[in-house]
Symmetry: C2
Subunit: 479 residues, 2 copies
């Protein structure tokens, strides 16, 4: 059977587009807008960056670029595994945090029914999905109380196998399963997604006989949505993960050029970089579609953790990094847009627009005698949301506020795959422009080490001592 | 029966605290930290601001300050209405957007079971709560499909009665109720919360015989959580709204001083203001408690829409306003903290800590042979989350990053009421410091008018023409 994503014209019709008109002086004025010459001036740098990315990929250091190809077979296998288990579980729980959770949430919100967990009919036999993504005792206890564990499967996701939050969740869920269902039940109720070669989780998984999936060594957490990290929960909830990878592959092909003017990932990163350099450190992502709100949250990790760095590659202290901010249209017109419109000129807004929503809903007629209400009847919510986006875009533009738009023809696995890949590549490219390592996160180590120390992990007693020796709080400054 | 919030010592034990130690040079170093002299230097300004706030209150212009007193009786009446209807509805739906939605969501997440809508036992006979808070066709259609309308009540919230999103939601929900249950069902399935004296919703409500609650004329959307806007859905889901108001009253009393050093609302606003002036325009609110995450979202509207302003009171163009950012601990340690730790020195982080979570959950023992995992066993998730907060706080402080902490003894209606009030008052005070009108939102008008024009609302044809005459997009800049 031919898949739709094997049809070139369907693919072309589903291409996501980047519209940067409102980043330029013609539209937003000379004080803040860019000129084509500004972009041209970056072309040489772009060529060098492109070469550097290619070389890193060749050297096996940019694993995320290999996934659309390398994970085709793995996706097939995951799909078969999920299909074989359909009907066996009522609940699928992801135990993971950060990069091990955000992609799962983004896929779920983007591609499944908006009230998936509450609507049996819409779910059509697939399990409910839960991603607690934290170690809040109230929430976690509430979850464990709510689920029938005999009908629940947990996917434990930690590349290192040492993530304190995830391993704590796992220990506790496992003990509850053992208590209720017996030791033998562990293999049937837990999947492990981790490094194949190192860490404690792979050891435990083998010991327990858990089904195991691997995270490639050269793919970091925030780039891992197209590995089993994101694919398993998606497949279990009925998402077409092969189409998702096909979307990523399509964007890889679109972006296989070092010409800024024809590479949406590079051009986007270049303009965002320029804006950050020019005193606009905040990058707002504002989809006008509820199903894309958690994709904006996924982006928030990708952009912040990759580009927020103390040192450049030469080791010089530079303390750089734009701050990604997520917003939601039309909702945040009633919350954030006042600031975006009138506050300091310190932001770039990236709108996301959807040409064809999954559903059409008419605004019903009514109150013909009240013109301030009746004008709405006969329109659709689709129109209303689109018009609100265009109206906000125009108002921001007329107020000289930099903005751009990513357009989705539809929200489906193919377009979401494109989006993930486009932003991952933009991140790698931005890393080149900032001249930093976009793939590490040294800044979170210190806090982790203090926590390990206090919790009594072996090898961290020194950190515990440092923690205990922290200055006492001045009680005059607590009120 | 005596209520616990009538007991002075219980109240004192439930007082939320503001810890600003890490805003000062002693802890975060001289380059970024403040000195006591910096605060003292603002004392005169604070006295003037306090007078101005008092005068505005006397003049009836600061309605939010009256609510703890003026809404005592109204809260009682709402509670009686909700109690009388317990068991009648399975679903309570809020139709509203922005300030008419965020408070409802914040209260629900903060005070009800974490899986409230999915857990019948935890819900204990109260209806499920839905706040679609947008006009997304997919989501709204999905919601209407999911609900049994014969067991559903909608609270339509719009002060002006002209909010396009809310009135569209209402028209459509109403038509569905009429279609399924008949014309006569409207009064039984819709509540209106709106201005008593003006607008279309009050007209409609009277015509339809809907139960009606009023939003005081002198309370704007983002300050309205303690009016029927937030109180009705809370009461219907079992939240003690009288305790909520008592919390606000308690904070009002605490903050009844013009001394910066003893007024947590003022001191907080003053320090945030200083930081913004000193090149730190981002104010991150990061609770270490899942139940406070939507309180941070509520704050995001309050702070952004109130303080993001183009002109000062003299009408001079100043384009000011800090950008509030919401984050969540420990989750965002795996997403945003890398940036907060190593990026530019452009943020203040406000942690929220909870001393006693609603539940205690132990981390189970296991894998005694694997020390990198077994050290977790025997601790609680409560400890883990608290230690992670303190570890992150210490690491940020050692990296010279400004931060402060709001501590909740517990998350309950009394402490949440304090929190709302403290931040509302801080916002009014910050408005004085910026010398702007913190209670209007002129910047959202233009976008609204374009939308009205395009949708054909009477009186907006000129705006439609302007919209239609917008410059065409250059297709070279779309890729």
């Amino acid at each position: 059977m031919t898949k739709r994503y094997e049809d070139a014209s369907w693919k072309e019709s589903m291409r996501i587009k980047l519209d940067v008109n409102n980043m330029f002086a013609e539209n937003v004025g000379e004080e803040h807008g860019y000129t084509k010459a500004d972009v041209d001036a970056m072309q040489e740098k772009a060529k060098v960056a492109h070469k550097s990315i290619k070389a890193a990929k060749e050297a096996g250091n940019l694993g995320f670029m290999e996934l659309p190809e390398s994970h085709k077979e793995i996706a097939k296998e995951i799909k078969e595994f999920a299909d074989a288990n359909k009907g066996k579980y009522d609940n699928f729980v992801v135990l993971g945090i950060g990069g091990s959770a955000l992609g799962n949430i983004a896929l779920q919100t983007a591609l499944n029914h908006p009230y998936y967990n509450l609507n049996d009919e819409a779910r059509n036999g697939y399990p409910r999905l839960f991603v607690p993504d934290n170690v809040d005792p109230t929430r976690l206890k509430g979850l464990l109380e709510t689920l029938d564990l005999s009908r629940t499967v947990f996917n434990v996701i930690s590349k290192s196998g040492g993530t304190a939050e995830t391993m704590s969740q796992f220990l506790t869920a496992r003990a509850k399963v053992v208590e209720e269902l017996g030791e033998d039940a562990v293999a049937d109720h837990f999947i492990a997604t981790t490094s194949e070669h190192s860490g404690n989780l792979i050891k435990i998984a083998k010991e327990e006989g858990m089904k195991t999936y691997y995270i490639p060594e050269n793919v970091g957490g925030r780039f891992s949505v197209l590995t089993p990290v994101g694919l398993i929960s998606a497949a279990f909830t009925g998402i077409d993960i092969e189409e998702l990878l096909a979307g990523a592959a399509y964007m890889d092909q679109i972006c296989d050029t070092d010409e800024l003017w024809s590479n949406p990932a590079y051009l986007n990163a270049a303009l965002q970089y320029l804006a950050d350099q020019d005193g606009k450190p905040m990058s707002v992502m504002m989809p006008y579609a509820h199903d894309l709100k958690d994709v904006a949250d996924w982006y928030r990790q990708l952009w912040a953790e990759s580009l927020g760095k103390k040192v450049n590659r030469a080791g010089e202290v530079i303390n750089v990094g734009p701050t990604p901010v997520k917003a939601l249209g039309a909702t945040d017109q009633h919350s954030q847009v006042q600031l975006y419109m009138e506050g300091p000129f310190d932001k770039v807004v990236t709108f996301i627009e959807v040409e064809k929503y999954k559903e059409t809903l008419e605004i019903a007629d009514g109150y013909e005698d009240i013109s301030g209400v009746s004008y709405l009847g006969g329109h659709t919510f689709n129109e209303l949301l689109t018009v609100e986006k265009q109206a906000t875009e125009l108002a921001l533009t007329e107020n000289n506020r930099l903005n751009c738009t990513v357009t989705f023809p539809e929200v489906n696995a193919f377009t979401i795959g494109q989006f993930f890949y486009m932003y991952e590549l933009a991140t790698a490219f931005a890393g080149e422009l900032y001249d930093i390592d976009a793939f590490n996160q040294p800044g979170v180590e210190l806090g982790k080490q203090y926590a390990y120390g206090v919790l009594g992990r072996e090898g961290f007693t020194e950190k515990k001592e440092e923690f205990d020796a922290r200055p006492e709080k001045n009680s005059d400054l607590i009120l």
